[in-house]
Symmetry: C2
Subunit: 358 residues, 2 copies
């Protein structure tokens, strides 16, 4: 695909690039963004590349009222050869279309968007940092733009991809965090929007997150909405436990996001012949395993942190330590392997990475 196949509106002056050693998460954005539009009757327009800049919305635009939005998150890495590579981007495109279906937003052609993303990243390649632990965070998102206060799906949408160079999620190294098991608020329920990456699922968790922070916890461990018993997710990550040599992660029950990192970890464990079970796991089973010494490790898994060790969990005021609060060896190995493949330091036997060639 040549650069001529996508419309590119250039800006007069490029931004100054930030210091790679002190990059925050999701606060600095590159010079350009991808944009495409949907209109009823004509479908999705061709993607184009435009200067990163404000979006103008009518005050009655549906996105500001009824939450009909979808987003994704993935990362581009500078590999050892100096090339830029993405991690399983087609998985994000597939999941985004699944989210679209749940939110009554018309589906798009994932290949077209991936081609446009490749061109955008190629244009912005000097923004991809190379310091250890850094990456270029890629945020595709779709908003509903019809100017109408009626409660029904929009007849027009805008689809953007913005890019943000981000630092290591662990500037001081990977360290276990304390989590709080939430038994009042819920994130999602079967039949709801929990499997979709839509805005409302995230702000729904703010009350619980604030409560957890106040008591010194980094994240919330969500339980199912119905029995308030089965473990679902941790913060906005999937969660894994090592119990008696076996890895357990909550099955996709209809209220859990199907994480790309989750899927990759399950596939890695299979390849290592480590037993991994996707099944229901209750908070009582977890406490029992902690008490009898069989709870060996616990960690969250998601795009932002990749793998995030859990040092303890608090349920109804009682804190339960995991692995004496240290990072488990399998947790560390998974972190090193996934990030190694993502950055090209390790071989990629699975064909997960996609080097950007424009």
């Amino acid at each position: 695909m040549s650069k001529n196949t996508i419309k590119w509106t250039k800006r007069d002056k490029l931004k100054t690039k930030p210091d790679e050693s002190t990059l925050p998460f999701g606060k600095i954005f590159t010079d350009y963004m991808m944009k495409m539009r949907y209109e009823a009757g004509s479908g999705w327009s061709d993607p184009e590349i435009v200067p990163y800049g404000p979006i103008e919305l009518d005050p009655a635009a549906m996105v500001l009222h009824y939450g009909q939005t979808v987003f994704e998150g993935l990362k581009a890495y500078r590999n050892e050869n100096g090339d830029v590579q993405l991690f399983r981007p087609e998985e994000n495109m597939k999941r985004m279309n699944r989210s679209h279906r749940r939110m009554s937003i018309p589906e798009f052609d994932g290949e077209t968007v991936l081609k446009a993303l490749s061109q955008l990243i190629d244009i912005e390649k000097d923004w991809v940092p190379s310091v250890e632990g850094t990456s270029l965070y890629v945020r595709p998102f779709v908003i509903s733009t019809q100017t109408h206060l009626a409660v029904h799906p929009s007849d027009s949408y805008e689809f953007y991809i913005i890019l943000s160079p981000v630092g290591s999620y662990y500037p001081e190294g990977i360290n276990p965090v304390k989590i709080q098991v939430e038994d009042e608020f819920t994130r999602a329920v079967k039949g709801g929007t929990g499997t979709a990456k839509t805005g409302g699922n995230y702000s729904a968790g703010y009350n619980a997150q604030e409560k957890a922070s106040k008591s010194g916890h980094a994240q919330v461990l969500w339980l199912d909405a119905i029995e308030k018993q089965y473990i679902e997710e941790v913060g906005s990550m999937n969660v894994f436990f090592k119990i008696n040599g076996e890895i357990v992660t909550p099955a996709l029950s209809g209220s859990i996001l199907e994480g790309v990192t989750r899927k990759s970890i399950i596939e890695l464990l299979h390849s290592w012949e480590i037993p991994v079970m996707e099944r229901k796991i209750s908070i009582q089973e977890l406490i029992q395993a902690q008490k009898n010494g069989t709870l060996e490790e616990a960690f969250g898994a998601g795009t932002a942190a990749v793998v995030s060790p859990i040092g303890s969990f608090t349920y109804k005021g009682v804190a339960y330590k995991v692995q004496d609060g240290e990072t488990g060896s399998l947790t560390k190995k998974l972190y090193d392997t996934v990030t190694g493949i993502q950055t090209g330091k390790l071989d990629d036997p699975f064909g997960w990475t996609k080097v950007i060639h424009v």
Copy 2:
């Protein structure tokens, strides 16, 4: 309060006002809107009145990603004296602050906003229609504006009120609708955001709404997310049933919106000494009542339609008629009384209406 107490930025040219006899719902907006801002550290700014026009948002503004929004809906009516009056606006301010708490948005002073709203409506009084069944729909809404892709409450917000002259919800007279009982998708669950007027609750229902429309139903009747048995709401309205002379409406269970029209209807029924119960009601109980002839009436209640008679409900493919598909006499009396009080045609013994005096 004099006009000088609020900053008012005038526009050069006013819009042409629409034909009052053909007003749509929520598509036409007046010349001005109210705006105020929140910044961490300084709190909410004074409200000001500015020309109705586009909102500019950074592509990384939180509202476009994580759904941290709240809105309200109320109506202003032209009364028999030609004055403009609002219906229980302080109830909307209270509920909006409750929604703010659930969505981790800082609360605001309801009196300040109501004063600003009165001034806005006074400025726009020529936009308030007077044809039978018309009104000026008032839409306050708050969006999160921090430019940061992290999943946490925003540190800045914008609060707007926009105004839309709207036609009768029933241009051809009040007519019973067919509704479909939804047994797959869910709107909300206890511990979630169902009691808050936040965007995500509304788009969460689009899949079910589309399914209902395809099978010829006007609205969805929502069941509880846990047992899929107890009735919650109809579309985005509260729901009432008349069974054997007694009125039943689902109790506020933690996943149902506390409607202002719902509250007003309950208070009216009390004043008429008609028994009204706020309690759990299952779909099986409803079907049983329909079968044994004790289901006398059914209707939805909300700001947009005020009272919306239900002619039949379909559950698992079977349609159950209510009152032979006709509007019940109590339904009609409630509609006439509430709209009569709202428009000033009837006395207001409850002190519900508030005439705008600036």
